[in-house]
């Protein structure tokens, strides 16, 4: 599936201007936007989900134009059918696991879930090994369980694309490796294209077929990492070359803040 992003947005906060000027296309089902914090990764992801409106530009997912400022198209977030995994999962604290997962499948006037949706919830509870936790509330779950609930909740509406915002940042390092493997398994089971943002090189080697390198609001490179030198003959990821590709990127800090003192001197 093709994702096409060409967006521009200027943000102004505390006298600091940040300009996002991002253009890339990704044919692969597994894309990773990589860059240091402050590079504009989240903003890009939020724009694709429809949570942020670009000043101008165009966003296409598959054959659906989601945003096109020239044509006056701006599909609402609620009508994009895009899954979004928030960095800290944003599980509804007042709903239990089952209610969280079924949230997207239930209409407000329905007191009970339609049978089809109920089956699907049960299926997702099984797949994500959440049996016995149906009635637990998010505050009672571990980090890994929360992530599973958030994934199940996003997948129930059969999204065309799943966006992942720093999917493993909220987990402790020991759990991170396991959840990465789990995510890859989920991805092949549900056949849903994914676009993740991260500043962790490990995520890139596990999740990426295409890497979009972002820095200071601009795309530096789009690299296909499906073949040599990034994969060996058996298709295994060569960690070394990925690291080489990302070298320097993860050390670049956010753009320097304009100093108030300098302005005062003028």
């Amino acid at each position: 599936m093709r994702i096409e992003v060409d967006i521009h947005k200027t943000l102004r906060s505390n006298g600091r201007d940040f300009t996002l000027d991002v253009k890339f296309a990704c044919e692969d089902a597994l894309g990773v936007v990589f860059g240091p914090s402050g590079a504009g990764k989240s903003l890009t992801l939020r724009a694709i989900a429809g949570l942020e409106r670009p000043d101008y530009g165009r966003i296409v997912v598959g054959d659906k134009v989601l945003f096109d400022s020239m044509a006056g198209i701006d599909v609402r977030a609620s009508e994009r059918t895009i899954g979004y995994l928030f960095q800290d999962y944003a599980l509804f604290p007042h709903l239990n696991v089952e209610e969280n997962i079924s949230f997207g499948a239930k209409r407000w006037w329905e007191r009970r879930l339609p049978a089809e949706a109920a089956r699907r919830v049960a299926e997702l509870v099984d797949v994500f090994e959440l049996r016995g936790l149906n009635k637990a509330y998010p505050a009672q779950l571990s980090g890994g369980q929360r992530q599973r609930v958030a994934l199940a909740r996003a997948l129930i509406q059969r999204p065309h694309l799943l966006l992942l915002d720093e999917p493993f940042a909220a987990l402790d390092p020991l759990l991170r490796g396991r959840m990465r493997t789990e995510l890859v398994a989920i991805r092949s089971m549900f056949k849903v294209p994914m676009l993740a943002i991260t500043h962790d090189p490990e995520d890139v080697s596990v999740l990426a077929d295409t890497v979009i390198l972002l820095n200071q609001g601009k795309v530096e490179k789009v690299v296909d990492v499906k073949s040599a030198p990034y994969r060996d003959g058996e298709g295994r990821v060569s960690e070394g070359s990925i690291r080489e590709l990302l070298t320097g990127m993860d050390e670049v800090g956010p753009p320097p803040l304009p100093r108030k003192t300098i302005r005062a001197v003028k």
Binding site: L51, S78, F92, G104, W108, A139, A154
Partner: protein, 228 residues
């Protein structure tokens, strides 16, 4: 021997007061939720001015509020004249008039509580619901309102307590007609004026118990929930 106050002297004003305060709370809460949500979530010019206007009844003397209400809903008032000419309704010196007076005086308490509660709801939950395909209406009733509910309820209870004790504006608009518009606080005043100390004592104790219970309950509601 001490004369026990008759039911006419205690029960009638007590029931009337609960009725007036109950309806006033319903009105104030409905309006409070709507306006607080608009102020908390929408960006429009004059937002802070609206906020100040909505808080005004809290700092203004109730008699001044009552006077304004008379100007508005009195027989010759802007709204009152229309109501009387078209619907034959007159609010002055009726228990419905007392409801309006108590609702206006109690409104800021629900409004303030609801605004703080809405502002305390993290935007991310609403965004998560939108991404899951939910309309703005559905986001409101399934996410925002349930998460803000306890704060709103605590505000509504304070408003109820305030409405129970309303005196000044109620007296201006509804007067003090025993059995029709004479609420507890007005009945206390009348009892003291008439030298009926036993009636006053009884009414004061009843009022105090109701108010203290409400404060305790609203305090419990405001304790944090969903903590991990």
């Amino acid at each position: 021997m001490i004369d026990m106050p008759t039911s006419q002297e205690v029960l009638v004003p007590l029931i009337l007061t609960l009725k007036v305060a109950g309806w006033a709370t319903v009105l104030a809460t409905a309006a409070g939720i709507a306006i607080a949500f608009a102020v908390a979530r929408l960006r429009f010019p004059g937002r802070e001015l609206v906020d100040a206007m909505m808080t005004l009844p809290m700092v203004m003397p109730p008699t001044v509020l009552g006077y304004y209400l008379l100007v508005l809903v009195g027989r010759r008032g802007v709204i009152g004249e229309w109501l009387y000419d078209n619907l034959g309704i007159s609010l002055v010196f009726t228990w419905q008039g007392a409801v309006i007076a108590a609702a206006v005086v109690a409104f800021p308490l629900v409004y303030k509580g609801a605004r703080a509660a809405f502002e305390g709801v993290e935007r991310q939950y609403e965004q998560a619901a939108r991404v899951l395909g939910k309309s703005e209406f559905e986001v409101f009733i399934r996410v925002t309102l349930p998460l803000a509910w306890r704060g709103i309820l605590a505000g509504a209870m304070l408003a109820f307590a305030r409405a129970l004790g309303e005196f000044g504006a109620t007296l201006m608009v509804a007067g003090s007609i025993p059995g029709r518009t004479q609420t507890l606080s007005i009945a206390v005043y009348e009892a003291v004026q008439a030298g009926k100390d036993d009636v006053a004592n009884f009414l004061v104790v009843v009022t105090s118990i109701v108010c203290i219970s409400i404060l305790l309950a609203s305090g419990r509601l405001l304790q944090p929930r969903y903590a991990s």
